[in-house]
Symmetry: C2
Subunit: 348 residues, 2 copies
Amino acid sequence: MIEDKNQQRTDLSTLGEFGLIDHLTKNFKINHTSTVKSIGDDAAVLNFEKKKIVVTTDLLVEGVHFDLSYVPLKHLGYKSVVVNLSDVYAMNAKATQITVSVAVSNRFPLEALEDLYAGIETAAKLYNIDVVGGDTSSSTKGLIISVTAIGELEKDEEVYRAGAKPNDLLVVTGDLGGAYMGLQVLEREKEVFKVNPNNQPDLDAYSYIIERQLKPEARQDIVKLLADLEVKPTSMIDISDGLSSEVLHLCKHSDVGCDLYEEKIPLDPVVISSCEEFNIDSTMVALNGGEDYELLFTISQDDFPKIKANPNLTIIGHIREKEAGAHLVTRADSRIPLKAQGWKNFES
Amino acid sequence: MIEDKNQQRTDLSTLGEFGLIDHLTKNFKINHTSTVKSIGDDAAVLNFEKKKIVVTTDLLVEGVHFDLSYVPLKHLGYKSVVVNLSDVYAMNAKATQITVSVAVSNRFPLEALEDLYAGIETAAKLYNIDVVGGDTSSSTKGLIISVTAIGELEKDEEVYRAGAKPNDLLVVTGDLGGAYMGLQVLEREKEVFKVNPNNQPDLDAYSYIIERQLKPEARQDIVKLLADLEVKPTSMIDISDGLSSEVLHLCKHSDVGCDLYEEKIPLDPVVISSCEEFNIDSTMVALNGGEDYELLFTISQDDFPKIKANPNLTIIGHIREKEAGAHLVTRADSRIPLKAQGWKNFES
């Protein structure tokens, strides 16, 4: 599906490990005063003065977390950074540094790694992140990317999964289900391509959901918005595995129940129309689709006036006592217990 | 070679991601006051007060960095932590936290991951490290481990690769070449085992070098020793790729040359005897063997009285002006330019 217009293939062995990492990261800029020493020593040195920090890490494996038959390497580099930053923002922190480790089999030429790192660099620039460490090595099969992200916290601004209280409002950013439906479109086109490699798909109508899948964004803006609105969520998590799974995490960690209203779940028109086309229930997609990288949080009802009518935020339910359980309240007003079905990587 | 005495095989899908990471890390203890929030949220929260920190990361891939036909999983877990801590100590820092991400194919049962995490836990206990994050996911092939280590620095105590000055002494800890010779013994036994699986090898004579390969230690003690001796190295690096490669790194980063004396290179008697047995030159093994995880550093000549006669430290040469180049001075008193041959992962 993705035509390789880059005919040049430079073997990785021509550079060796040290030449390679120097080459790939030579344009990376350092912007944060907290970065004392970046790539090029045994470890990076960082100085956050008195600030607390957050640390999160993710490992992405070809064939499990991404499919290079329809994911351009530049997008993959970008996404591998973004999914980690999303975890930093979910702590109500400001992302500042990342390290990136990459392992590739010898089927990848230098130009492929250059594309991957171009995506990493683009994300680093846009989110104002210093790339302070990492390495490259070989793998026996496929591409493996490990990113660790570090962020800094203003004094006591961290927000955990625990902290939601009965009567708190349940709020979600953006809209849901787009990344999953984008994946369905890409998988379908992959099958079409297998049958007819000359077919040129017209994907314009799906561009929003395809972008949600291939080039998601992390909600850096929400951390700033909440600070500007002087709202500190009582609990927060990012939506990587689907709304249902994340609501259950908040409830479990906070020792509470909740009512989630089906009619309130924010859906983009393209998600709705593609769900109709694929004959999938859009609520199921929003609940279990995953990879939306929106933020889910709870706020005290006292903060309602500060967030109401904000186009970035949708109130989708409220927290209840633990004994009430966690339920989806359907449009037909029936109550269905929420189940986590998002994460299927170990099921085969 | 390694008999699987553990007959129980529990499929990973019985736990799912969240149950799995909870299960594997449930015995992990938190000891550092700098660990505010450990595993179980979107990110760990750490508080180093005014201290600077160091961050380093490594990605280990089955078939490239380790061979499970002779590496027990518990040892592998231990080693994957130690190799990262070694980078922290090479900055003259105190290691405090790690995150661990693991991806495994479905050929691994739960019991295999329990062994791996038992090794991680053992290393964390011995080196007094909090395991504060990480995840598990599936891979399409083999085992992949990514560890990020964090350490803290007392005010301005960091030591870089840059900083060595002409006339500084070049010092190495412990002895060299053991890990490489241990690997040679294990590779030989693997070949023997392929021919005769009932052969019970007697590896007692090689136990020192096999342990250097399978269960290396990081020189935490040296950071403390140097502080006690009130010696701050002018430059430092850990020896992961072989002495030759690391000396060249120090010279390049410090913009200096050096003379390294062959007769001074510390070798264990078992390394010498196994080199004779395998008909390999022991100096070549020490220069290019790698994986010894000793520390290489330079000190001002003024500090010589503080370190002399210390059994942990060997002076193996001295720094010269850049124009003099970097040379090995042989026992026959000839000068051979040093070459980095240690890292061959991209050569096939």
